[in-house]
């Protein structure tokens, strides 16, 4: 219980800081909308092939825009050496990590939820009929991205080229989660329910989240302190 309270304290601090500065949120949102707009010029929104790749398109945009938020996760602690004060405090590194991952999840889902209606308009896709299952896929896949992104944000925080290194490290790691999310999103945007073989992708997402969350919680102290 105490662990969860400490994590929520860190998450609330990160969200409050970000909502005041809006540095990462504005950049990520603007990037997502611009990419959606540019892609809409490249594809014919009425074509059947566009519908077939809509899930993939959407998740590529989320992945690109998401790294802007993930990059700031630990980088915001560098100003005034705040990371030292957090690490010197009695909270476990895993609680610090979980708090940051939760804050990232909220910010990433917020960007995704704003981008979704824009995507629907630009690509002539009806996303509302299966909104709840779609929200479930968004949260499951985004948690996987947030966990891996937060971990690598901690790992690269002291690198000069961290803005470049983070995507290079994160994208290969999140391929399984992205594949599952793309597949499930395409099914749901086509107006079909998640059924039959598609449950395999749901199970993959859940397993991915559980494995990488456990790994990150176990390793983060070593990452932060060496």
């Amino acid at each position: 219980m105490r662990f969860l309270r400490q994590s929520l304290t860190v998450a609330a601090k990160d969200l409050r800081s970000e909502l005041r500065s809006k540095e990462a949120l504005n950049a990520s949102l603007a990037f997502a909308l611009v990419i959606l707009l540019l892609f809409s010029f490249a594809f014919d929104p009425t074509a059947e092939t566009t519908r077939e790749i809509s899930g993939g398109l959407l998740w590529l945009v989320f992945a690109f825009a998401g790294t802007l938020i993930l990059n700031r996760s630990f980088a915001r602690e560098l100003a005034n050496d705040c990371l030292e004060a957090l690490v010197a405090s009695p909270i476990p590194a895993s609680a610090l990590f979980l708090g940051k991952a939760l804050a990232n999840l909220v910010l990433l889902v917020a960007v995704e939820l704003v981008s979704l209606p824009v995507f629907g308009v630009f690509y002539n896709v009806r996303w509302t009929p299966h909104f709840l299952p779609l929200l479930g896929v968004l949260v499951l896949a985004t948690w996987g991205v947030a966990v891996i992104g937060t971990m690598f944000s901690a790992l690269t925080v002291n690198l000069r080229l961290r803005e470049l290194m983070l995507p290079v490290l994160v994208y290969p790691m999140i391929i399984p989660a992205l594949m599952a999310a793309m597949q499930l999103t395409t099914v749901l945007l086509a107006g079909e329910p998640v059924a039959g073989d598609n449950w395999l992708w749901v199970r993959l997402l859940v397993a991915f989240d559980l494995i990488f969350t456990a790994l990150a919680l176990a390793l983060v102290e070593t990452v932060l302190l060496g």
Binding site: S17, E84, A85
Partner: protein, 232 residues
């Protein structure tokens, strides 16, 4: 039992030894002024004492525990080179945040009390990014003292402070000493530090060249110790 003990500490940056065979211990009510020229290893030593870095050899104990132990960290207050408070949060939000992280029963009440003690009560709801350097440093000190730590580690606490801020800082540190707390502070401000210190340590190129009680000569002539060890 010593409040704080360092045993045979070695630390390397690449092949370069930043600390060599550093050993000392201090008990409650001691204020240790950690002196040395730039690059002598003062900040590195404070980081090892705070558990923010691992020594290559040797060990640190705070009240008999490793500084990475949560119970030891709860009794440790650290003020590093940076002020370690958030610019986007207000003074009260910063202190309440750290009060929660240290598991205080009433973090907001403790935060308000320390804002008053550091003369920041009137700006408690202002964002830290609007503060002057002196106000930031006072808030940082309040953050380090908020949980009444038994051991205080301060890295250059007097740097860039005006007379008023130095007076507030000295008063708070004297109160902490009177309450039996242990203070280790690195500094280049010899006069201010020696007025407070009960003990003095001098690091020369990573080695502990001197460790002992502050003497009358040091107080009368702050540069005396440097000259004695050829560091003038």
């Amino acid at each position: 039992m010593a409040t704080l003990a360092a045993e045979n500490l070695w630390k390397y940056y690449g092949d370069l030894p930043a600390l060599r065979e550093v050993s000392f211990s201090v008990s409650g009510g001691v204020c240790l002024a950690l002196l040395g020229r730039n690059g002598a290893g003062k900040t590195t030593l404070l980081k090892l004492l705070a558990g923010l870095a691992q020594p290559a050899k040797g060990r640190v104990t705070i009240l008999g525990r490793s500084p990475r132990d949560a119970a030891a960290r709860a009794r440790l207050g650290v003020l590093g080179h940076g002020i370690a408070v958030y610019d986007e949060l207000s003074a009260i939000e910063n202190l309440t945040l750290f009060g929660r992280l240290y598991g205080l029963a009433a973090p907001r009440r403790a935060a308000l009390e320390w804002l008053e003690r550091t003369g920041l009560g009137h700006v408690r709801d202002s964002l830290v990014r609007e503060f002057s350097r002196g106000m930031r440093q006072r808030l940082a000190l309040a953050r380090a003292l908020l949980h009444n730590p038994d051991v205080l580690l301060l890295d250059e606490p007097f740097t860039a402070l005006d007379d008023r801020a130095i007076a507030v800082l000295q008063l708070l540190l004297r109160d902490a000493l009177a309450a039996g707390r242990t203070i280790v502070m690195s500094t280049h401000q010899l006069r201010e530090a020696l007025e407070l210190a009960t003990h003095v340590a001098l690091l020369v190129r990573g080695r502990l060249a001197h460790f002992g009680e502050r003497s009358a000569e040091m107080l009368a002539d702050p540069g005396w110790l440097y000259r004695r060890y050829g560091e003038a």
